[in-house]
Amino acid sequence: MGESELIRAAQGGDSRAFEQLLDERYSTIYRFSYKWCGNTCDAEDVAQQACIKIAANLKQFNHESKFSTWLYRLVINCAKDWQRQQQRHVTEEPSAEDANVLSSMTEDKADIAVYLGQLLAWVELLGSEFKETLLLVFGEGLSHGEAAKVLNVKESTVSWRIHNVRNKLTEFEKDERGHL
């Protein structure tokens, strides 16, 4: 059964089809959440939230676009909701758990995670739309056109954002060196 049939079956109420669909797609969802949040704990939360949302809203998928496009949009919304909740906790601090997770990884990888986290935070200074564009294009390897469909903007807007992000990245590197 192809994905499209699976979706139709799930929309028709077939729970096994739905389970299979989720099973196949979970890694995509989770990896994207992980890129967004930067730690396993939060990424699991976001992915779980996204799965629940898919269950509730699958019927609204109308097969006009690609399922992955629809999926990305949904996960991005979940991630943004999560972020908004995080901001509500004023006393947010890197918790001990995160530190454990980081230290349990290899030194090298922990560095990458931290570095990426800083980078994303830096890009986000431009605006949250830049972060999601960057994640889709660089993180997920989508074309500008595909990213534009997910974000529901024009392709030129995506290109413009990527251009800005590139400039920002150069700046980020300079800034890093300046600190070093």
């Binding site: 799930a10 929309q11 028709g12 109420g13 729970s15 739905f18 389970e19 989720l22 099973d23 979970y26 890694s27 989770y30 990896r31 992980y34 890129k35 396993t40 990424a43 699991e44 992915a47 779980q48 799965c51 629940i52 898919i54 269950a55 509730a56 699958l58 019927k59 609204q60 109308n62 004023v90 006393t91 990888k109 990458i112 995670a113 570095y115 990426l116 980078l119 960057l134 660089f138 993180g139 390897g141 529901n152 590139r166 990245l169 150069t170 980020f172 590197e173």
Partner: protein, 756 residues
């Protein structure tokens, strides 16, 4: 960095293991949601947005809500030019109308030397509204006069308003004629304004008069409404909020059938407001001071002890600013108990305090005597374990130098007083209540300090919720052997949630029964809500202190930490029975808010004040011995003032003034213990006695404090006694004064002398 690097980075970070448990959990939850979604719409497999959403869904500008993309709204353009014009003019008219109203509501300052001008368009506007409001038969026509030079800005706006109103007023060709008639009426109007001498004397005047008049102007045959705006130097719209509206009747001339009503709107100048003390927004409960009582009528006096001190520090703050306090803010007993007195202490736990009675001559009334009752609790040797919840108000009103920053500093001071294994939790409340710090051991001090330092003020005040949450935390961490206490720091503004004092009181009382006590620290001024503070602390078995400075925080939370926080006896009640053979009249000084009914003394269910470790409590009675000339109440003509006992009961007790009875409960007990002491009818101190002995020193110092407090309260019993007498008396009796509180008291009296 280029994007290849970035992609590589992402790829390197990619090979994260997916936790299969997490995946399973997510999928299970999703399945549950899925079946729920199926159950919700079993037959409809279609889009939810097709569901009917009300009767007029067909008329909605947006057809399909679910698939609708709000971004499209931005792309929409107004299609036709006609539409643009309609919307545009509609918006323009609304703005102009609004501007017109604003101008009408706010007369702006004008120069009294400018000539009086009649503002026609304003007249037109108001004329229209008045006519529109009444049927034509009853009120033939309303004419509007505006006297006054209107500011240019206002005029500019008004011209706009005029444009649309002109159309309607054009119907009335008489408009201009009316205005002329009314110009005459202005001079006639002097009769109306001179009826209010105060306003007539005011040179700056802006008079707007609406007269319901048959066109003949001056005759004033029907009701005249006049609105006088006296607007001196007020500038802004806020003037309206501040203005005091009063209604006055203006007598009119002979043809009058009804009295004329005139409404006066007076806006005060800024200068006036600078003088008006902020205190007006602070709430104090008014209590009449205790009156002199005749022993024959009412030989027994009962009250509960009070260890609160908030009144003194609040008043001190006012006096330091050069203002006399609101008399209701002064509570004599809190003045008395602010100071630590050097009474001989109690020895042990079972009799937790000593009672010391001193009798001497009243300083302010010859012939009268003062009965000084001093109680001192024993000092606990070892500080008990405590479980504290700080409940902090971080609402916007706390955002000033003497509020939240002071709260933080105070709590840091307190932390140093606690034992390392004590627990502390922090709950804040503003728009919503939240836990900032879960119960944490004091030895983990850094964590507590960083939680404290992160606090910021902002938002409204949901006091009720915060209190619930604090109780929840305290219960969570309840320790039977520890002191479980909530420490509330606030400026007293509970404006959301459980906010009626009654409701809060019930809550606090219920929790007290479970062993969680509540103390209140008041901060700041401006909207200080004294009544609420008192209610909370008195019913929560805690103290209410007012912290106006770091010094005061030091006093309450460091020097007196043990007495503020650790109770050694609760529900301490005092009852005095006077001997009618020796005492004619008595008066309890202060303790108005703490009076108890006679029968409540023996009723253990009735709550009363508590005494902390090492606390001293002082109360003063002013008594008039039998035969003294200073008696205030005349004997009655028809009843025997001696009462019915004709001296039998008091026989052989002629040497006694009174019997002092005291009831208390140990902290864990529910039944009270009684202590009694006979007060002999003789002076134990006099003015010449040695001021270094504790009796004389504490007696006269407390008299000075009580006297000062009563002077601030404009007490009617003080006679010729003045601030200077209080200074002199306090100067002699300062004693060792370790922390300088008594010296400060003397300074305070001096400040009161020059305060206004």
């Amino acid at each position: 960095m280029n994007e290849q690097d970035l992609e590589k980075l992402f790829n390197q970070n990619q090979d994260v293991k997916i936790d299969s448990n997490a995946k399973k959990r997510a999928i299970n939850l999703a399945m549950a949601e899925f079946s729920k979604a199926q159950a919700a719409s079993p037959e409809k497999g279609e889009n939810k947005a097709d569901d009917h959403q009300g009767f007029f869904s067909a008329l909605r500008p947006i057809k399909k809500l679910a698939s609708f993309d709000w971004r499209d709204v931005m792309k929409n353009e107004i299609k036709s030019k006609v539409e643009k014009w309609i919307y545009g003019s509609f918006a323009g008219v609304s703005v102009a109308l609004f501007a017109g109203f604003i101008v009408l509501r706010n007369p702006l300052p004008f120069n009294p030397t400018d000539e009086i001008a009649i503002d026609e368009d304003l007249a037109g506007i108001i004329a229209e509204y008045s006519v529109g409001a009444k049927p034509a038969e009853e009120a033939p026509r309303t004419i509007e006069v505006t006297v006054g030079k209107l500011d240019r800005l206002g005029k500019g706006v008004r011209v706009k308003a005029k444009e649309e109103l002109m159309a309607s007023s054009a119907r009335r060709s008489e408009t201009s004629q009316e205005v002329i008639v009314l110009a005459d009426a202005v001079s006639a109007d002097n009769s109306a304004s001179s009826a209010m001498p105060a306003l007539a004397a005011e040179p700056k005047k802006h008079i707007r008069q609406v007269s319901n008049d048959g066109g003949s102007g001056r005759d004033n045959d029907s009701a005249v409404e006049s609105e006088l705006f006296v607007a001196p130097s007020l500038q802004m719209a806020s003037a309206d909020v501040m203005s005091i509206r009063s209604r006055t009747h203006v007598p009119e001339d002979k043809t009058l059938l009804t009295q004329k009503l005139s409404r006066t709107t007076v806006g005060f100048s800024d200068e006036y407001f600078a003088q008006a003390p902020q205190e007006q927004r602070e709430r104090f409960e008014h209590k009449d001071i205790n009156a002199v009582k005749l022993v024959a009528d009412e030989p027994v006096s009962t009250f509960s002890v009070d260890v609160d001190t908030s009144s003194y520090s609040f008043v001190r703050q006012r006096l330091n600013q050069g203002y006399l306090p609101n008399p209701d803010a002064v509570r004599v007993e809190e003045f008395l108990n602010y100071f630590d007195y050097d009474y001989p202490g109690a020895k042990n736990k079972s009799a937790p305090f000593s009672t010391n009675v001193v009798v001497g001559d009243s300083p302010w009334k010859a012939g009268n005597k003062l009965l000084h009752i001093g109680i001192k609790g024993y000092d606990i040797a070892e500080q008990p374990k405590s479980n504290m919840v700080f409940l902090l108000d971080v609402s916007g009103s706390m955002n000033s130098r003497n509020k939240l920053p002071l709260v933080k500093q105070s709590l840091v001071l307190l932390l140093d007083q606690l034992r390392p294994d004590d627990t502390v939790a922090i709950v804040v409340y503003a728009g919503a209540a939240g836990t900032v710090l879960e119960p944490t051991k004091v030895k983990d001090k850094q964590k507590i300090l960083s939680a404290l330092s992160r606090l910021k003020a902002g938002g409204s005040t949901a006091g009720g919720q915060g209190i619930r949450l604090a109780y929840q935390l305290a219960e969570q961490n309840f320790d039977k052997n520890a002191v479980n206490r909530i420490l509330l720091a606030t400026d007293g503004d509970f404006n959301v949630g459980v906010s009626s004092p009654e409701q809060l009181k019930t809550l606090v009382e219920r929790k007290r029964e479970t062993g969680i006590y509540l103390s209140v620290l008041g901060f700041g001024q401006g909207n200080y809500h004294d009544t609420m503070m008192q209610v909370l602390a008195q019913n929560g078995n805690g103290v209410a202190a007012y912290i106006d400075s770091l010094g005061e925080a030091q006093k309450v939370l460091v020097n007196e930490a043990t007495s503020s926080l650790f109770t050694i006896a609760k529900d301490v009640k005092i009852q005095i029975e006077f001997n009618p053979a020796t005492v004619a009249e008595y008066r309890l000084i202060g303790y108005e808010t703490r009076a108890l009914a006679r029968e409540d003394f023996n009723n253990d269910k009735v709550d009363a004040g508590d005494i902390g470790s090492g606390h001293t409590v002082t109360a003063l009675y002013e008594i008039t011995p039998v035969g003294a000339k200073s008696q205030l109440i005349e004997p009655t003509r028809y009843t025997d003032s001696k009462g019915v006992d004709d001296g039998k009961a008091s026989e052989g007790k002629a040497g006694e003034y009174a019997l002092l009875k005291l009831r208390y409960k140990l902290p864990k007990e529910t039944e009270s213990t009684l202590m009694t002491q006979v007060i002999a009818a003789e002076n134990t101190v006099d003015l010449h006695s040695d001021k270094t002995s504790w009796r004389a020193r504490e007696f006269y110092f407390s008299a000075a404090v009580a006297g000062f407090a009563q002077l601030l309260k404009n007490d009617k019993y003080m006679g010729e006694w003045k601030f200077d007498d209080a200074i002199e008396m306090a100067l002699d009796t300062r004693g060792r004064d370790e922390y300088g509180y008594r010296n400060e008291f003397v300074l305070l009296i001096r400040k009161a002398k020059i305060a206004r």
